[in-house]
Point group: C2
Chain length 394, copies 2
Amino acid sequence: MPISDRVQKSLVEGSWIRRIWEEGFSLKQQYGEENIFDLSLGNPVMEPPAEFHQELRKLVENPLPGMHRYMPNAGYPETRAAVAAQLSLETGMKFTMNDIVMTCGAGGALNIAIKTILNPGDEVIIFAPYFPEYIAYPDHHGGVAKVLPTDEHFIPRLDAVEAAIGVKTKAVLINSPNNPTGVIYSEDFIHQLGELLSKKEAQYGTQIFLISDEPYRKIIYDGCKYPQVWSHYRQSIVVTSHSKDLALPGERIGYVAVHPDCSHREELVAGLIYCNRTLYTNAPALMQHVVRHLQSVTVSVAEYQRKRDFLYDHLNEMGYSVVKPEGAFYMFPKSPLEDEVAFVRELQQWRVLTVPGRGFGSPGYFRISYCIHDRTLEGSLAGFAKAAQRFNLC
Amino acid sequence: MPISDRVQKSLVEGSWIRRIWEEGFSLKQQYGEENIFDLSLGNPVMEPPAEFHQELRKLVENPLPGMHRYMPNAGYPETRAAVAAQLSLETGMKFTMNDIVMTCGAGGALNIAIKTILNPGDEVIIFAPYFPEYIAYPDHHGGVAKVLPTDEHFIPRLDAVEAAIGVKTKAVLINSPNNPTGVIYSEDFIHQLGELLSKKEAQYGTQIFLISDEPYRKIIYDGCKYPQVWSHYRQSIVVTSHSKDLALPGERIGYVAVHPDCSHREELVAGLIYCNRTLYTNAPALMQHVVRHLQSVTVSVAEYQRKRDFLYDHLNEMGYSVVKPEGAFYMFPKSPLEDEVAFVRELQQWRVLTVPGRGFGSPGYFRISYCIHDRTLEGSLAGFAKAAQRFNLC
């Protein structure tokens, strides 16, 4: 075998998102792109905000000497300080640049966080439905993702978490606002989770990190306030990116932030920087210069909320069972057929592309991404309606 | 222990480049930056060529719709095609975009190449002196770096390679033009290495990849032609970046290229793309757009050659024993003291910063980086001369 057994296995198992993308590609070639309603990818069509273009233009028209050179492996001090200032503002806590490491997106951030803390065989608890790469990240670094179920509102069950934590548990990984469900964990839930982790740390004499993956932190609806992990648990690590809040997914600009009062903080940050250097997940220079000035800027959340309302109301009316998303730009309706792959294929017949829930560890559901043009969203309704009629949802 | 034992161990062992950097930082604070002659880092002061600024300005002034969105995990097809066209031109072989995966620099490229091919315990043969991260990359992915010596001109010994290859050998990793020595492996050497690997593949019934790390491919002196691996061995993978040829190290834009006739090529490339996605070493979007049009552009090699000649001639005159570099922007002189750390400290007394050879697996030597301003290079001569006098080199 020319390639590694593990990689080979992952290729054979494949990714559902990728499979749907490939099938969609054929459909688009067959029927024309405008006749396929692709709700399968979390790749926002929204352009970055005007402030981004201004900053970028300013830099490119007046380049700073050496602005494309290597910077320290943690990122530019000025950018890290700007991120820390924004976090301090949002949380009322005191972050400094020493709590921040700039990375190649949130995926890079998660990889280095997990690599830094895991010994072989250590466990990372994740919750289904989950972002598919959550399985790969611990696996890359000799660890294991331990998958726990969530309740009917996609909120983790604390009793299940309590039962699952053992001496090998090194981290609990949460993602709120959530991909693929759009739910937000409440302040109360996070508080209880923090209490539970503290209790378990004391019980086992171990350290358990709460890793919060927050690329959708700023995309929340109905005027809600975002429940931060920081005030509820000291051993917290936040990983995030500007992929969604500044609509820059292709630029791979993100960061890890560590709780300022985390125990062994310096050692942890030194480990993150080492892994950033040797996994080579450093953030690109130009984007570090740009986002330094955009920490308080966000794409139009109202625009996403409008899309959510439009789609949610229509699906609801058609009889679909959907938990109403409070953030991000996904919905995760229950499949009218137990076999959701069959239902996703049914939607494909109507040229609507979605992703089966089993791709996220939750068969019986399917994921819709609505970070798309209104015309695509509107065009998809006929297909959703036909499929609903076929399975007598109303 | 809050962090992983392996990462902890790497932190304690530290990096000599980093240690010198930290000591240099203190010296600069003490004496002023202009009074410290820092030849320790491979971070070119040369600005990117004019064509780079033109392309970047063009794009930023007339942004393409969606140009910051996610692209396929292998990179933009147009960029991959441009890289393939340039490789075809340079080699006379027929590369297509399907042989190319765009990555976060050459470091990202090496990580995904090694992860794609390695099973636990597999070996990657490397040669001392080596780029320090060559030890970390196989270790990250469950493999082992097996270090072999080189001869007095820093060329690997084929008999040692032959003796070292076993059933666990998955790859031989070479780096030419070399960091830290500046030597270039001859066409004849690469041909013999290719023959040897073919022989060993047949003997063991295994596949052995030749991975060639080529960020300095275009920085070669004296009008030499660069000896490519492609025509000498089919199981070849080239990893590289535009960090040095376009002076963009901070932008982390690189790629992996696979031999078009490599066996199991499709599976190998699929594995590379999977690892790029899940290690999150994707190349940033904007830089992919830019370098697409700059495949035939290079910084001024004459400028580097001038710096090499200046430094080499002076060091030679002072009595230092140096193999004359044929490319890249490093020299690796023999330390006048057996304990090269003591000699590097001696140079520090004269405010000249270099890196001990043991950081590259070769005690008894030290590395000089000359990708710096002429004033720094000129300023360092007094220190080199004083140290030479002290140890009676002339």
